[in-house]
Subunit: 252 residues, 2 copies
């Protein structure tokens, strides 16, 4: 593998009826994806949102863990009947679903022996041989087994735990990005943009995204590459394009 | 099929590197999902977010269109080089990717003959025999072919078009939901909740979701069912549970 351009990828599996039904707006995809790329050089290649259904979880865990270097799951690791992520992953990997000694101790200490009821104990049941992802905000740990990392669904708790995933991850090359905000419409630059993309076919990705700002419409042209030099070069071409077409640039 | 409980489902396929990379926060999943359930009685069963890669789009279109009654795609129907949804769906269904007469006329009229350049013309190229989903905000139409409906990625434009999807959809039974906000923690009610869920196993889904409000923590217990009577009955049981455990209820 070329060390200068080491590709490591991941999938995110959001487990939860509340996201699928539209009741809750997911925020974890954008957060995990940004964090993985900026801190670990890992690119998210696919996201799936699925219901709290055991067979669906098992099928997706098996498929995604084969297809990608890492799988991050969110949701379904709390104390209630609809929290079936740990049990389902155990079944997927055909390992026992049992009390994890350290997780049990952490939770017992956190709640106190008297208040450590069945629901809370359930959060210490993990796939056998899981390693823990510590949770500084509400104790109940996440876990990693094989290449699957399981995190909670509540965004504030997930955010507090994410740095504890790092030690389990192999880093890839970071993808850098640059955004050029042009006061124009996509169809005015689409032809030229296609030509520029062709020239940088294997080294830079160009995306273009319409925006509205203070009543004016524009296009954010986003370039992404593991090479800072290529990124610099393509942005020279983009500035030239803007100049040719007399397009104003929005500085933020 | 039991007319009183007609199950119609859908998948959402979000196409776009900008969502996968975390640059853009998706808002379309929650919107489409809510709209489909409340206006059409259609339940979203799976969401996938994938990159702007032709083969990936084709594979997912073929798989999801077989597995679900409807597939909604968002993104990739604009004028630029990375907008490849219509072409990819044409390839998936092995139909020609060609100018759609009415779409061409709509766009030519909207931009005016002189300003109707190649990028804009591209937005009139659709899978052969597509029917249009009209766009009241920026003219460029979405389209439906077989059971796949393609909408744009920009949320405000998508929202303006959604009602125009209705005539192509078969309605299902609406799933009603009720939320009870309890000032407690999940682990305090998880056992009882599991018992109640068992009693309503095939008729009501219970979900429980922690919340934080004005410095207090609580649990939103969400019940969902096509039957209003079952929903009423289960909520009686939940109120009893709250009374037994002396849990305060948050009225919103």
């Amino acid at each position: 593998m070329n060390k200068k351009n080491k590709k490591v990828n991941a999938a995110i599996l959001i487990i939860g009826n509340e996201i699928l039904s539209g009741r809750t707006q997911d925020k974890n995809v954008a957060f995990i994806s940004n964090w993985l790329n900026s801190k670990c050089g890992i690119l998210v290649k696919e996201v799936r949102i699925i219901p709290d259904v055991e067979k669906t979880i098992i099928d997706n865990i098996l498929l995604l863990s084969k297809k990608f270097n890492y799988v991050f799951t969110t949701g379904g690791i709390g104390p209630t009947h609809d929290d079936i992520t740990a049990r389902s992953i155990s079944k997927a990997f055909k390992v026992k679903y049992e009390f994890h000694k350290e997780a049990y101790e952490i939770l017992e200490k956190y709640y106190g022996k008297k208040k450590f009821n069945d629901g809370r104990k359930k959060m210490a049941k993990l796939p056998k041989n899981s390693r823990l992802i510590y949770n500084p905000s509400s104790a109940a740990p996440g876990f990693i087994i094989k290449n699957v990392l399981s995190l909670p669904g509540v965004p504030s708790i997930l955010v507090s735990m994410i740095e504890n995933c790092k030690k389990y991850l192999i880093k890839g090359s970071r993808v850098h990005s640059k955004t050029l905000n042009l006061y124009t419409v996509e169809s005015n630059i689409s032809k030229k943009l296609g030509q520029i993309q062709k020239r940088f076919k294997n080294s830079v990705d160009i995306g273009s995204y319409p925006f509205f700002r203070l009543g004016k419409i524009g296009v954010a042209v986003v370039t992404r590459s593991t090479s800072l030099i290529k990124l610099k070069n393509i942005n020279k071409d983009l500035l030239m394009l803007a100049k040719e077409k007399k397009i104003k640039i929005l500085k933020i």
